[in-house]
């Protein structure tokens, strides 16, 4: 087992040196495709050989015919297997960020420009499997691959594997694509977070969530408004997106400061800050972020929340970890 693992690692290194790093969109040309018989294929070959010996011994013509048909099917399967992957296009790679401990979903789009379907393709990111799927003719398929995470930081998606054993499972054609892509893993929000230290300009923060209940009116939807605030009934009537306004919103600014948590270990402090960010966002507060290496001006909305969490993930510029 270890020797196969070693062999496959060597092979992977060789392929990487040979191919270099790719950028998208990426067409699977012949020079990126590798093909080798599978275990089933090797048994198939042995069986065909045994049948050849039997036919020769008995000088049996129909036996020869069966053996040759089998051999021919194996040979054609080689071309069909290769053709099944050749010319496919890896058009998009999209990774949805996640909190540490939750899986990251990588979306991988395969484009088939041919007028025939591609059958039984498997996509993997590192060793995480996206399953076997067909790609329709002149169409595409999106693989959703979940990668588990443990720690916040950068997750490097190094190797994408596409493989097929279609039609007979005798041979495997595969391609390894090296894309220099990274994805961020946010710190896991602390379950129990200490209360935010009250800062001078932190007034509204203490008012609790009661302020959300005081409906103040509607305003035009702006990027970053929470979907929960959208007045869907109004949208259904007027086809205009509007957000509900509540009293207590936009009234004060909150600063979430890393320095205030200096008594905690760094990772725990980041977890607590993640919790604070989520809470503040939920309350609709204007919150800002102060980290030793980054600062986010107070704002509100999904985009702002994500930017803050990204900053937490990148805190201390952690080494990218490989997804494997």
């Amino acid at each position: 087992m270890s020797s196969t693992a070693w062999l496959s690692r060597r092979l992977s290194h060789w392929v990487r040196r040979r191919q270099g790093v790719d950028s998208l969109p990426l067409t699977l040309s012949t020079k990126r495709l590798y093909i080798l018989p599978t275990r089933v294929g090797m048994t198939f070959g042995l069986v065909a050989f045994a049948m050849l010996l039997g036919s020769m011994n008995y000088n049996n013509s129909m036996g020869f015919a069966l053996t040759f048909l089998l051999t021919a099917a194996g040979l054609v399967a080689m071309h069909r297997c290769h053709q099944n992957l050749s010319g496919l296009i890896l058009s998009q790679l999209y990774a949805r960020r996640a909190f540490a401990g939750e899986p990251i979903t990588v979306e991988l789009t395969l484009n088939n420009q041919a007028r025939t379907p591609r059958f039984d393709l498997r996509a993997r990111v590192a060793e995480y499997d996206g399953g076997y799927h067909d790609v329709p003719p002149a169409g595409s398929f999106v693989y959703r691959i979940r990668i588990p995470t443990q720690q916040r930081g950068r997750l490097q998606i190094e190797r994408i594997g596409l493989a097929t054993e279609f039609p007979l499972g005798l041979l495997q054609t595969w391609a390894w694509l090296y894309v220099d892509a990274e994805c961020l893993v946010w710190p896991k929000p602390a379950e129990i977070a200490p209360a935010r230290p009250a800062l001078a300009d932190d007034g509204a923060g203490q008012r609790g969530s009661g302020g959300d209940e005081d409906f103040a009116g509607l305003r035009d939807y702006q990027d970053g408004d929470s979907p929960r605030l959208i007045a869907w009934k109004t949208y259904a009537r007027t086809h205009e997106l509007q957000s509900r306004q509540y009293d207590g919103q936009n009234t004060s600014e909150v600063w979430l400061d890393f320095a205030s948590l200096s008594h905690l270990p760094a990772e725990e402090a980041l977890s607590v800050m993640a919790r604070w960010i989520l809470d503040a966002e939920k309350r609709g507060e204007q919150y800002g972020l102060r980290l030793p290496d980054a600062t986010q001006q107070p704002a509100n909305g999904l985009r702002h929340r994500n930017q803050c969490l990204d900053a937490l993930a990148c805190y201390g510029n952690p080494e990218p970890r490989r997804a494997s």
Partner: protein
């Protein structure tokens, strides 16, 4: 272990493949094996459908051992094709019971292939081709279904994949068939299947032997003449010479290696022909009277001027021979041989001896005696019949003087007796007489019903001379065929099978069979050499052949690869799109996935400011055509694209400017507009 039902689809196909592979053996295998197979298939299938439990190991093991012992008991061993395939069937049935994953299913499919092979080892008929293709198709469909891991597709998809696999394999099959070097086997001893009787001649001749043969329409051999076929009355195909008479039965003893080649003299033309004989499991071969030379391995001529082989003919055999139609054989006969060929058992058939003496006294010469005997047959009320009355101890006496009803063996036997009684050396030749011309007229079919027995007598100065007493009684047997002879004697009414239409059908069928025999079953090392010679490749050794095979196989595979690539070509774009593509090709700047035309136009104009105007015009015209344009706009599009100056090198910045390297939500995503 509980099954989860995930195999359902591939299991259905696997069971189907197994049943198809087993089907031809349904009648030849013991009933319990067929039963076991069906029961196991049914059990496993219902387990899968109900998502029940597999039969536990402690139950499977004794069943397996029991079945193995049952096979041993049924066949008395495991050697040979029949017990081997029985064992395979049992294994497949039991394997089904424990099938829980792909690997188990693959094992069953391998067994299917071997079962099909064992079917062919047992028998190869014309329908075997159809069976081969159908069985292979089903097995491959099953194979695809077992290999497939994506979402299950409808059954006809697997059937189509099986069909595709088979069709793609056919050209390669043909190539391998013709060129794969055939090595004369066998490598290991083939277990002989003793007791499997074949219809055909035997080495003894008793009354009634040939008349049973005459009912059989089986083909004995086929012959292809290299020149015009000789007239029918000369088509005497000799196989066995019998000379040892015990009063009732004529027997051939073990022939000696012939030294008779020097005693056969040509008295006229000779004729060449190729005989393809059906297996007889005997050593004799057929040859036209009299074989002078022959080509073929391990074939020799006996002292009786018949051809033999050192090994029994267990497979269809083709050989070439040359025969003399006019000849003089063994002009000198040793006194010892003369005594041998005139020997009769003492105190046997006294009336026949008396008749011989009576006729001999009346004749002045040997020739006249022969004539008198033949005219005795002709003039007395002899009757040619397939169902003669049973004869007692003095069979010749009874036949000659009382019953006078008989078939060719009766006449030959009586004639030889009468000759010997008068001191003329005589013997019986068993073989075939006549033959049916094939539909295309290029070969002749000799059936078992053409079996015949005639005589040879030795005359001073002439050697062995052929005499056919049956011709004296029923000349139409020789001139036409058995049926007409029997009809003449009211033995057989002209039935439906004698209608010309049916005869034609029979001949057509035989023609197809003969071609199949020649090109499929008989295709061995020699046929291959001949065929390659016909193609202009003279005496290739196996290395040349392997090289040739490699070249042609590679070429064929390249063609298949091209064909597959062509099938995978992108769908034809509409005309406007093709001009848009042409624009991109001219600029050597492909549009990126998801890049809208105007975005592309902006990017291209930025890169090639000199052509900005033409690019803009092209893209705008393209959009105009795209969104409900007319022919004039299409013409403008073409004009605009043609004005684009062709670039010869791709621009270094073919990819759109990538997003800033700061990790964002989308880290490696193509730009979309």
């Amino acid at each position: 272990m509980r099954v989860d039902g995930s195999l359902k689809h591939s299991l259905g196909w696997t069971i189907a493949a197994l049943l198809v592979a087993y089907a031809p053996q349904l009648t030849t295998k013991p009933i319990w094996i067929s039963g076991l197979l069906l029961v196991c298939a049914g059990l496993r299938w219902s387990t899968e459908v109900r998502r029940g439990r597999l039969i536990p190991t402690w139950l499977r093991l004794p069943i397996g051992i029991g079945c193995f012992i049952a096979v041993l008991a049924s066949y008395g061993g495991v050697n040979g094709v029949a017990p081997g395939s029985a064992l395979l069937s049992v294994m497949a049935a039991l394997k089904l019971l424990e099938t829980r994953n792909r690997r188990d299913e693959y094992v069953i499919l391998y067994i299917c292939l071997f079962l099909m092979l064992s079917t062919f080892l047992a028998e190869q008929h014309l329908w075997s081709i159809a069976y081969l293709l159908f069985g292979f198709l089903v097995t491959m469909a099953a194979w695809v279904s077992v290999s497939r891991r994506a979402k299950v597709r409808p059954a006809r998809w697997y059937a189509r994949q099986g069909l595709k696999t088979t069709l793609y394999a056919l050209p390669l099959l043909l190539c391998l068939w013709i060129l794969f070097p055939r090595v004369p086997g066998p490598f290991w001893a083939i277990p002989t299947e003793a007791g499997k009787a074949r219809t055909g001649l035997s080495s003894t001749l008793s009354p009634g032997d040939i008349s049973t043969l005459s009912e059989s329409q089986e083909v004995a051999f086929r012959v292809r003449f290299q020149s015009i076929a000789p007239p029918r009355e000369l088509l005497y195909w000799r196989a066995i010479v019998m000379h040892n008479f015990d009063g009732r039965t004529w027997a051939a003893d073990e022939p000696v290696y012939g030294k008779s080649s020097d005693v056969l003299q040509s008295r006229g033309e000779s004729i060449r022909y190729t005989i393809t004989m059906e297996p007889t499991r005997q050593r004799w071969l057929y040859a036209l009277d009299m074989p002078a030379s022959w080509r073929g391995q391990k074939i020799y001529r006996t002292g009786y001027n018949t051809l033999q082989r050192m090994e029994p003919v267990n497979d269809r055999l083709a050989y070439e021979a040359r025969s003399l139609l006019q000849y003089a054989a063994n002009l000198d006969l040793q006194p010892r041989s003369k005594r041998w060929y005139t020997r009769l058992p003492p105190d046997n058939n006294p009336q026949a001896v008396a008749l011989a003496n009576q006729l001999a006294d009346a004749s002045s010469s040997t020739d006249e005696y022969v004539r008198r005997v033949l005219s005795y047959f002709r003039e007395q009320p002899f009757y040619y019949t397939l169902s003669p009355p049973a004869l007692g101890r003095n069979a010749i006496d009874e036949f000659l003087l009382e019953t006078r009803r008989g078939f060719c063996e009766h006449y030959a036997s009586a004639f030889a007796f009468l000759m010997r009684a008068a001191g003329i050396p005589a013997r019986i030749v068993a073989g075939y007489q006549g033959g049916t011309e094939s539909l295309m007229g290029d070969y002749m079919i000799v059936r078992q019903s053409d079996a015949h027995a005639w005589n040879e007598i030795w005359l001073e100065g002439q050697g062995w001379v052929r005499v056919d007493p049956t011709a004296a009684v029923a000349p139409s047997r020789i001139e036409q065929n058995l049926n007409s002879a029997l009809q003449e004697y009211g033995e057989r009414a002209p039935g439906a099978f004698d209608l010309p239409a049916f005869e034609n059908l029979k001949l057509t069928w035989d023609l197809i069979n003969a071609r199949y025999n020649e090109w499929v079953l008989g295709f061995g090392p020699e046929t291959q050499r001949d065929f390659l010679a016909w193609l202009g490749i003279d005496s290739p050794d196996w290395r040349d052949q392997a090289t040739l095979l490699a070249i042609i196989l590679t070429a064929l595979m390249a063609m298949i690869a091209l064909w597959l690539a062509w099938l995978h070509r992108p769908p034809r774009r509409d005309d406007a799109s093709r001009w848009y593509q042409r624009l991109q090709r001219r600029l050597k700047l492909p549009a990126v996935t998801g890049e809208a035309p105007r975005a592309y136009s902006r990017r291209a104009r930025a890169l090639f400011p000199l052509q900005a105007e033409a690019i803009d015009a092209s893209v705008e015209h393209y959009l105009a055509v795209r969104y409900g344009g007319n022919a004039r706009q299409f013409a403008s599009l073409r004009r605009a694209v043609r004005q684009i100056k062709r670039r010869w090198r791709a621009h270094s910045a073919t990819a759109p400017a990538s997003a800033p390297k700061v990790p964002t939500q989308t880290t490696a995503k193509s730009r979309t507009h």
